[in-house]
């Protein structure tokens, strides 16, 4: 036995104990601070959209048809309010010679993240003869809708939106127009008058200026469209939505027709 053993002993004890301790110790997580700790700037503004070159714009037009016999518009008796005068027809289906009116057509997809200026001019919604004019309205988000009452009776305007705020305001005869706007996109936002239950119209709020409503001849036209691939949506208040894909080249004029089948009832 010599001194070496003694020191070997101590060393052994130290090493053994340390090893054991290290083994037994809970593994400690070292806090490694993240390397570049700057808060991310939230994507404040979308990349500037490529400006539309007026020289290359294309347009889309077409006709919307109604397959099948034109449903007979139910007559509405408006006699409960003498201010309304006479008879009226429901405007759910306005079909003349197979052409379907009051279809809202808009570019649903394909514009990317372009943003468009909101027109300063208001869109006018008129109440006349206890009917709304027009029955289907397109408007850009944020654009002013001017609501007038040309009837000798009081109306109330009551939009019942899904994605916008609901309101309900009374408008006595010959009172000033009500000006409102809708901030969020919403298709076929119903508007009604509680005092005249047949009065009903739809506002379509979209983000682009590329929309149209078919007229009595079923025709529509969308102008000023930059070239690209688009999804065009045709929406009818009862018959729902139908989409079409279309590609327009520069200065193109495309015709996109669409037809609706009668709703199965």
């Amino acid at each position: 036995m010599n001194k070496k053993t003694g020191w070997a002993g101590i060393t052994f004890v130290v090493v053994a104990l340390c090893a054991l301790l290290v083994l037994a110790a809970c593994s400690k997580k070292e806090e490694t601070p993240a390397s570049s700790p700057t808060a991310e700037q939230p994507a404040a503004s979308a990349p500037a959209a490529t400006p539309i070159d007026p020289a290359t714009v294309a347009s889309i037009n077409g006709t919307v048809k109604f397959d099948g016999p034109a449903p007979k518009a139910p007559k509405i008796d408006m006699s409960q309010d003498p201010g309304c005068k006479g008879m009226n027809e429901a405007e759910t289906y306005v079909v003349t010679g197979g052409d379907l009116a009051n279809v809202f057509v808009y570019v649903k997809d394909g514009l990317g993240n372009r943003t468009f200026d909101v027109p300063k001019d208001p869109v006018v919604l008129d109440q006349q003869g206890c009917r709304y004019h027009p029955h289907v309205l397109g408007v850009m988000a944020g654009q002013t809708v001017q609501i007038k009452n040309d009837d000798p009776t009081t109306h109330n305007i009551h939009p019942t939106p899904k994605d916008n705020r609901e309101w309900n305001e009374s408008q006595p005869p010959s009172s000033p127009a009500i000006e409102k706007n809708f901030a969020r996109e919403e298709i076929m936002l119903p508007v009604k008058c509680n005092q005249h239950p047949w009065m009903k119209m739809y506002i379509n709020v979209v983000k682009s200026p590329f929309f149209a409503v078919t007229g009595k001849d079923g025709k529509y036209e969308i102008k000023g469209l930059p070239p690209g691939d688009y999804t065009i949506a045709f929406v009818h208040e009862k018959l729902g939505e139908q989409d079409q894909k279309v590609t327009v080249a520069a200065k193109d004029t495309k015709t996109v027709d669409q037809s609706f089948k009668p709703a199965a009832e």
């Binding site: 010599n2 001194k3 020191w7 400690k28 997580k29 806090e31 601070p33 993240a34 390397s35 570049s36 700790p37 700057t38 808060a39 991310e40 700037q41 939230p42 404040a44 139910p74 007559k75 509405i76 008796d77 006699s79 409960q80 309010d81 003498p82 201010g83 000798p152 009776t153 009081t154 109330n156 305007i157 009551h158 019942t160 609901e166 309101w167 309900n168 305001e169 009374s170 408008q171 006595p172 005869p173 010959s174 009172s175 119903p190 509680n194 005092q195 239950p197 047949w198």
Partner: protein, 1088 residues
């Protein structure tokens, strides 16, 4: 050793230990530094968090500041602001010259004052010292000499050098005077300056207020303040210390953003370049519900009372969150965080703050009740009627003994008094006797109240499942065993859980309930019109509770049964009775005798066989009877023919013919009955159903009131203890695909040996802990599979996790003694009867009916919103209405207030108890005091009446166009209640608010806003006013309200007649709008 060569040098004394010491010392020093490091940083990871916070939050604030600056700019561009600014500038300009001058004068006066002051105070100090000596001198001569000194000193002239260089000499007296003079002058000047500057400061304040009023976010200046605070932050423990509740929470040492006034998201705190938010980003977010923190001030409540975790610990995330083995209160997982509400709000049925509903915990509480969990498990507060009934019974007994005692004592006292020796004694005894009689009279009153109580409680007692004493009358016999096999096969959404019964058990149970059921005869009904029945079913509001259609086709509420296949199981005659009045019982039950009372019992006493809420005493012994079916299903006050139509329609709801069920002859086998009884008792069927012979069975499950704080060791994971502790692949015991889909987080990957894991697995597959165990029939776990969805499991788990015995002091419990208690109580009733299926109580709450397709276009056909019901109606009227919504004893097949609604407010037969609770609830919910003292409505003068009438019927305010008048031809198209109800029903102040802005009171109502506008401290009509109004200075709104409250039927008729519309309505057209047609249809249905 001898063999080894002996070294030259003595190894003991010759050896040096220098190197050993060196190494040991180095290591020791290293260790010391390690210990220091560990103390300073290793044990304090929050320091790193705070460092990160400083960096990231300042960066975030920079961004926020620029956005804020932008919005400030846009506010500043507003013309209104420009005007204010101009005002300010003008004021500034105009006051500038004057102000400067005043300021200059003030400065001058101050300087002069300073000059005088320095000399004056010095001399005054000397005078004071001398005076002191004078006062303390003892001899008269010394006093005299001192006085001389003082006078001499005072007379001495002192020189004051003024700021302008002039020097003046003053005696002490003059000095004092001058000093006071200048001081007063300065005060005067500074007031003057204030006056001059006043318009400027006012204009400036207006300007600043405008900005802060119009900025949604913080102003750049405020953000700058935050930034300074952040960059100047010294790392330190942030601690909330509430001694009274023993709360020490240091959570905010890492969660620095919790209470910041800005909304801080994970994304905003993620450092640039890294995609996923790291632990710092996750820690720094602000509290998701800042409004909650307004009510629960963190400085009082801390964090851990709601979230749990180890608030003290700061050494590591696991420690701080309490996610380690020996901490009993680990942090609630994020998805279960609402469990924390339960520790103080266990007495609340609905938790909502403003329009934020805490739906996880609310749904958990609902499910616990609706799914009948409390049928087997006791839980404080749930289904407490039986317990209350018991205690009422005991009180009655006690009082009766007391009463007897008193009677005896009275007689005794009187006897003693008669025999008393003196009058005084006799009088005293007589007085005592009289007192006892009074006491007894009080006791009688108390007894009466207790009798009412028990009557109410009997009425309030409900069971989740149907009364099985009626099975013979109600059900297709052969259907029963099929149903018991697996109820969800027949009806996927049923509340009836799957008990995993063997065929033998099914046979025995069916046999027992069949053989123990009533055999009374039911009145026969002729078949009705199914098409009309369907219409009624959809219109009357059945779908608020019941649903119809399966899978994607399903429509309606989940509160009550899905009726898609009801035609296969039900008996038509019973169904008619049920629809007509579900509460109608076949035979009453006497809990005292523990038997069902039949006509024979009544006949014995010569009484007619009549039992209902007004005839609820047992003919045998006068005890209170259970006279109703213990169901919450109300009566819709349908005509008997309508009930037949609906029943006929429902009988058509079937997938297969009732006759196609295999015959089950064993159900008549008397030999099976006893065994069946055993199983019925074993599975605790009596918890949810009324079963003959099981009326007094106790709950078979364990109490769950404090299940969340049960030590984990007491939760029996059985063979999965190890598996759950380790987690990893294959640690998921549930194999069944359907059950697996119920787990909120999917199959287990991480260790799940905790309360959450236990509850989730147990709820997803209640017998999971039997897996692998060999157990006998009566040993296996009894809890049935409730076929819950993922979300439901999450909700219930949250509820159970929160069911803890709290260590918080009593004062932290939400047990208010004021009106808020009425709200608490009321919600239990509201939820019990599913009022929220039809009515909106909380802003933003969706009712079942709102979701139905048929109401999408005609929202005005929805039942009224009750957001401000308490403020709207007179509580006395409300009580009447709730006990009879038809508001008429005879004409009941209609709505009392809104006859134009097709959906019907049913009669719930609320007990007095519940009526009281509901009325108080509505009043409290709208902060209305009780009792209600009606506001005086002034009587209008004839002129005022004329004016009001002209407004009331003007084209611009055609009130009667929509409001019902009682004229049937008009009421067909009316869409609002009759004004004649207003006087008794409404509160005038509410009516004023209502006609001003109905959209604010009941969003979406047909009543338009904008009828009145504010003008010179009053409201005037917004449209053209009739000429009579010229020169009227009163409030139009008030005038109209007063008129409405004075409206008589005759007046209304007169006004209606004067309106042009009445003429037109005479000729009903065939092509009315759809709604009108439907109204007509409904009306004809009623009188068919």
């Amino acid at each position: 050793m001898p063999e080894k060569p002996i070294p030259e040098q003595d190894p003991i004394t010759g050896k040096s230990f220098a190197i050993h010491y060196l190494i040991a010392t180095v290591i020791l020093i290293g260790t010391l530094f390690w210990a220091l490091y560990d103390e300073a940083w290793g044990q304090r990871p929050w320091k790193a968090f705070q460092d990160q916070w400083k960096d990231r939050y300042s960066a975030f604030l920079n961004t926020a500041k620029s956005t804020s600056a932008k919005s400030e700019q846009s506010v500043e561009q507003d013309p209104q602001y420009a005007a204010l600014k101009q005002d300010y500038e003008k004021a500034y300009e105009s006051s500038k010259a004057k102000g400067d001058e005043a300021r200059k004068k003030l400065d001058d006066a101050s300087a002069r004052l300073l000059a005088v002051q320095s000399v004056f105070t010095d001399r005054r100090a000397y005078v004071n010292a001398l005076t002191y000596e004078l006062e303390t001198s003892t001899s008269a001569s010394a006093k005299a000499s001192k006085q001389k000194d003082i006078d001499a000193y005072k007379a001495e002239q002192a020189t004051v050098e003024f700021p302008d260089g002039t020097k003046k000499k003053f005696t002490f007296q003059q000095l004092e005077e001058t000093y006071n003079e200048i001081r007063d002058e300065r005060t005067r000047l500074s007031l003057e300056l204030g006056d001059v500057l006043k318009p400027v400061t006012a204009a400036k304040a207006k300007m600043d207020d405008y900005i802060s009023d119009h900025m949604v976010d913080l102003t750049p200046a405020q953000i700058e303040g935050l930034k300074r605070k952040t960059t100047d932050w010294d790392p330190k423990i942030v601690q909330i210390n509430v001694a009274e509740a023993n709360i020490v929470d240091r959570c905010e040492s890492c969660h620095m953003g919790t209470r910041e006034p800005l909304k801080i998201t994970e994304a905003a705190m993620t450092s640039k370049g890294s995609k996923k938010p790291d632990e710092y980003a996750q820690a720094f977010v602000s509290h998701p519900e800042p409004d909650l923190l307004q009510i629960h001030d963190p400085d009082k409540f801390g964090c851990s009372p709601c979230h749990q975790g180890n608030g003290r610990a700061t050494t590591s995330i696991e420690k701080a969150h309490g996610n380690y083995e020996h901490w009993l209160w680990p942090l609630y997982p994020k998805e279960n965080s609402q469990a924390g509400c339960q520790s103080c709000h266990s007495a609340d049925m609905v938790l909502a703050s403003g329009d934020v509903q805490f739906n996880t915990i609310n749904n958990g509480k609902d499910l616990f009740r609706q799914r009948g969990c409390m049928g087997c498990h006791r839980y404080e507060g749930y289904d407490k009627e039986p317990e209350d009934l018991n205690s009422v019974g005991q009180q009655i007994k006690q009082i009766e003994t007391q009463r007897k005692e008193n009677v005896k004592n009275t007689a005794d006292l009187m006897k003693q008094a008669d025999a008393a020796e003196s009058n005084d004694v006799a009088n005293e005894l007589n007085t005592k006797a009289v007192d006892l009689r009074v006491a007894n009279s009080k006791l009688d009153g108390r007894l009466q109240q207790l009798d009412f109580q028990s009557h109410s409680l009997m009425q309030d007692q409900k069971k989740v499942g149907p009364n099985l004493k009626d099975v013979r009358l109600k059900l297709n016999k052969n259907w029963i065993p099929v149903w018991l096999k697996k109820p969800s096969d027949f009806r996927p959404t049923t509340k009836m859980p799957n008990f995993r019964l063997t065929d033998r058990q099914i046979q025995a149970i069916s046999a027992y309930i069949w053989q123990s059921a009533f055999t009374d005869e039911l009145p026969k009904h002729k078949p009705g019109n199914a098409a009309h029945g369907k219409e009624l079913f959809e219109e009357r509001g059945c779908l608020a509770c019941h649903s119809i259609g399966e899978g994607d086709q399903m429509q309606g509420g989940t509160f009550a049964a899905n009726l898609s296949r009801v035609g296969e199981k039900a008996n038509y005659d019973y169904l008619v009775r049920w629809i007509h009045n579900a509460r109608q019982r076949t035979r009453p039950y006497c809990p005292y005798e523990k038997k069902d009372i039949g006509p024979e019992d009544y006949a014995k006493k010569g009484l007619p066989y009549q039992f209902d809420l007004d005839h609820s005493k047992c003919p045998n012994d006068g005890h209170e009877l259970q006279v109703q079916n213990m169901t919450v299903m109300p009566s819709l006050r349908l005509a008997p023919e309508d009930a037949e139509d609906i029943a006929t329609y429902l009988m058509t709801q079937k997938k297969q013919e009732p006759s196609s069920y295999a015959a089950a002859p064993f159900m008549d086998d008397p030999a099976l009955k006893e065994e069946g009884k055993k199983w019925v008792r074993f599975y605790g069927c009596g918890g949810c159903h009324e079963v003959s012979g099981m009326e007094d069975e106790g709950r078979i499950g364990t109490e769950l009131t404090f299940e969340g704080s049960k030590p984990i060791e007491r939760l029996d994971f059985a063979l999965f203890t190890e598996v759950a502790q380790r987690g990893g692949k294959g640690s998921e015991p549930i194999k069944d695909k359907d059950d697996l889909a119920r787990l909120p987080d999917g199959p287990a990957k991480d260790p799940w040996y905790d309360h959450k894991g236990f509850f989730e697995h147990k709820l997803a597959e209640p017998n999971v802990y039997d897996q692998g165990m060999v157990k006998g029939e009566t040993e296996a776990l009894r809890m049935p599979n409730l076929h819950l969805t993922k979300d439901q499991v999450l909700d219930l788990t949250t509820f159970l996790l929160g069911s803890q015995e709290t260590s918080l002091p009593q004062s932290y419990q939400y047990k208010p003694g004021d009106a808020r208690h009425d709200i608490q109580e009321g919600w239990w009733v509201v939820k019990k009867y599913n009022c929220m299926g039809c009515h909106q109580f909380i802003p933003g709450q969706r009712t079942i009916l709102m979701g139905l397709k048929q109401y999408q276009d005609v929202q005005e056909q929805l039942p009224p919103k009750l957001l401000t019901e308490g403020a709207r109606v007179d509580p006395e009227w409300l009580r009447k209405f709730l006990s009879n919504p038809a508001l008429s004893a005879t004409d009941t097949n209609r709505n009392g207030v809104r006859p134009y609604l097709k959906v019907r407010m049913p009669t719930f037969s609320f007990s007095d108890n519940e009526l009281r609770k509901l009325v108080r609830f509505f009043q409290a919910l709208s902060q209305q005091p009780l009792p209600y003292i009606p506001e005086e409505v002034p009587t209008l003068t004839a002129k005022e009446t004329d004016m009001a009438r002209s407004l009331f019927s003007s084209t611009a305010a055609p009130c009667l166009k929509c409001h019902a008048t009682g004229d049937p031809s008009h009421d067909k198209i009316a869409t609002a209640p009759n004004f004649l109800l207003a006087k008794e029903r409404l509160k005038p102040d509410w009516v004023e608010r209502w006609i001003t802005d109905p959209q604010a009171v009941s969003p979406g109502t047909s009543m338009p806003s904008g009828l009145f506008k504010a003008q010179d401290n009053r409201y005037v009509f917004a449209g053209p006013t009739p000429p009579t109004f010229n020169g009227y200075a009163g409030d139009h709104r008030k005038l109209l309200t007063d008129y409405i409250f004075q409206l008589t039927a005759e007046e209304q008729r007169r006004v209606a007649a004067s309106m042009p519309r009445a003429k037109a309505a005479v000729q009903p057209s065939s092509s009315r709008r759809r709604a009108a047609v439907e109204t007509h249809h409904a009306a004809s249905g009623g009188s068919r």
